[in-house]
Symmetry: C2
Subunit: 333 residues, 2 copies
């Protein structure tokens, strides 16, 4: 991690470096969220968009495009596109997860209803689609269409893999590639494509986004079991209570003794959870060192992300993206 | 209506004329529905796709393209695209409407769960997006992106307009343009665009699809109050029970006496419905002649659809599309 990262988090340095672009992205987002006919739409989306997500995905697109020397207008459209896709998936996820809180505020499905979450999510998807068509780049459309399919497939796979102890690390990787990494890698890749970067740089940007997204989700899943120095508004054990098979549990199931396996079958497959089960689960993960092992995996993906950046020319933004990969895993190290 | 329409319905004549193309569309649909990673996806979609919808929208695309002399491969992709978008909206609608039956079979949200309906709908949207990118036509992408936004906006508008007696005919028209006509007009328009038809023909195809879709939805809404010679698997009064403001009710509310207005306020706005209320509602619609008036509106839109076809060169498919417009309203005349 660079020395100046002690002064500011890499995410904040990216935001500061790209503040002008980001202001244009926010203006475009507000414009395109509006609906002449259906005032419910900006109500629901403003609730989410203004709750101030980290805007990480649009920053990735802007950084990739600027780093590759782009000075046209369309990185703004693409940054808004990825934020719209992200927000749409959050709205649909909250219906799927029956969530009640997101970013410390009640979810849209709770404030309004599932109907609004489904339909406004669809609206944001279609708005993102209009934005990307405006770039006039078929290649960008192809990348984002494929990313959308991977996201949806990953979400369905997660649904069917949940509560199934046969879920292994390979399936887990497919799920998190879908639910998280596919949009990260599309975000960075389209930045390079719109800038007309050479093929090897476009590939490197894709690899960076993919590896960063995987590390990011692994860390998120580790933090759910409290392996954190700095926890960000998540309750320990949410995934456990929802019987989600994430990396620390999958590793513990793989190493389980017969009686431990019975425990996992009861709490995850049957969903018969009692007081003390979360503590017991964490003791089993501790015994087999699965939090530490998952942390090693996450750090490995962060290293791959950083290594991919070496194909790109030196640039202050490249250094920030490299620090960002370190920062993502620093939350669990 | 042409004489041979007494032999076969226009929809069946279109299917027969386009049987070769339609077989290719069905093959493509089956291929693209598949998911290597998530077997739940083809389960859910096969359930819907094989329930044998009328395939009306893909037939419109094929007919438009062939009528304009197209002999490339991409009308197949576009026909599959519009069917995927249609199926995705059905999956999401069933979540929104909490439906229990569709095409005479239990809905996917009942057989599986709301989660699967939301996520598999998203998957089909993204698959449709991939299919249209393959055509390589930015204009086609633009038309379908705009149609998607209009569909989603119409659905949200319908949600907020439901149970609100201030909903007037102008709002109703926006809602049905969104929920039905936008995909009809996009289906016919992209057929003309992919065939490279002259601008006036492309415009005419759009106008035809728009007017046909509006007539189609008006008829559907009239049939919900039983104004039918031939009712197709719908229960009389479903819209009434769901407190939807459709054309016959909107017209009755506009003509209501103060005491009738109290009735509508109770059953639609407050949702306080008792035995005999549906009969009372139908008696009020009868007194003000609103079913007959809605039928006249539908026939007017069917006439506009037919008139639009005159901008296109004579063709057996043109005659079938004209007969189709007559047939759509014949269900209530």
């Amino acid at each position: 991690m660079g020395l100046d990262s002690t002064v500011k988090k890499p995410h904040d340095r990216l935001s500061a470096h790209l503040a002008g672009d980001m202001a244009r992205v926010n203006t475009l987002i507000r414009e395109r969220m509006a609906s002449e006919h259906a005032p419910r739409i900006p109500e629901v989306t403003a609730h989410l968009v203004e709750a101030g997500g980290k805007r990480l995905r649009p920053l990735l697109t802007l950084a990739a495009a600027r780093m590759c020397g782009y000075d046209g207008p369309y990185h703004i459209h693409l940054a808004a596109t990825v934020e719209f896709i992200h927000t749409a998936t959050l709205l649909h996820d909250d219906v799927v997860d029956e969530s009640r809180q997101r970013r410390g505020r009640p979810t849209a499905n709770l404030l309004w209803d599932n109907k609004s979450s489904v339909l406004v999510g669809d609206y944001l998807f279609s708005r993102s689609f209009q934005l990307m068509v405006e770039t006039g780049s078929l290649r960008v459309l192809d990348i984002l269409a494929n990313a959308s399919a991977t996201i949806a497939e990953g979400e369905v796979l997660q649904l069917t893999a949940a509560q199934d102890l046969r879920t292994d690390e390979a399936i887990y990787l497919k799920v998190i590639r879908g639910k998280t990494a596919a949009l990260f890698s599309a975000a960075t890749e389209v930045g390079g494509v719109i800038a007309g970067a050479p093929e090897d740089q476009v590939r490197a940007l894709h690899t960076y986004g993919d590896a960063l997204g995987i590390a990011f989700q692994m860390v998120d899943d580790i933090l759910d079991y409290g392996g954190a120095t700095e926890v960000i508004g998540k309750n320990v054990g949410d995934d456990f209570r929802e019987r989600k098979l994430t990396l620390p549990v999958i590793k513990a199931v793989a190493k389980a003794t017969p009686s431990e396996r019975e425990f996992w079958r009861r709490v995850i497959e049957k969903g018969d959870q009692q007081d003390g089960d979360l503590e017991q689960a964490m003791a089993l993960m501790d015994r087999h060192g699965t939090i530490a092992s998952a942390r090693t995996d996450a750090m490995d993906w962060a290293s791959r992300a950083k290594a991919a950046l070496e194909a790109l020319p030196p640039h202050p933004l490249r250094a920030m993206l490299s620090d960002l990969a370190d920062y993502v895993v620093s939350r669990v190290s």
